[in-house]
Amino acid sequence: MAVKVRPLVGYKSLTAFRAFHVLMLGVKMLPEYMGEAYEDFYARVESMPEKDQETIIRQAAHFVELGKDEVEAIVGFCEDPNGVAYTEANMKNLGPKDLVEMIVAVCVSISKIKVNLVSESEKKK
């Protein structure tokens, strides 16, 4: 299923952004990554090719529990076949496979958003 992701704007984009980091933190808690600081782990994920990022996000979506609001915020950036953004009204059409695919698609888009306290140009200075 090809997932169309809408532009990440509006209040729900912040909820989705936080949900993405909940997923990443959940993965970081796996024994294989536990030794790393979250910043280091996330910097490594950011530098990965998109396909590897997708694998990690998919892994996270499989076992990290998100709240209803967080799932709704993420899936709300996707559209159903009629072009209607998913809300509580039409989310009942979705199975776990669809939900995981949408979480992955939206989170890959979110991973491209850079929100840093110190910008790259400031770091160079």
Binding site: N82, G83, V84, A85, T87, E88, A89, N93
Partner: protein
Amino acid sequence: MASFKIYDCDFGIKYNGQNYEFTHVNSLTIEDPENTRLIRGSNAGNKLGLPYKEGIKDAKKINVTILGMSVDLKAILDQAFENKDRLDVYAISRADGSSKIGKNAVICQQPQQLSLDESADSMNVALAFETFDLSEVHKS
């Protein structure tokens, strides 16, 4: 014309294979024009009369108000109204689970936004559907 009201139900629309369901809909009205009536001659001597049907060429009408409908869905329903597209509608009573299902319905009036909702993303919309295929399932 008979008019039924269902209070506190879940109301759903199936359009192009997608279900859109709204929970805790305050009320829904169904107007059924079909009547079976009796007639007799003007001497009034016949105690049985002749039964006949009236209103059978008019469709049954479903009126409902949806709170918090997304702007996207309103646009799709506007389009369905313009194109005279077919859709299925259903209402399930939250009290006893009995349901009414209207198949191959059309939206008979332009979906009307009732007032500006508090959210910019959603609105309150009055919908009216017509169907000839209305069935009901009662739970005992």
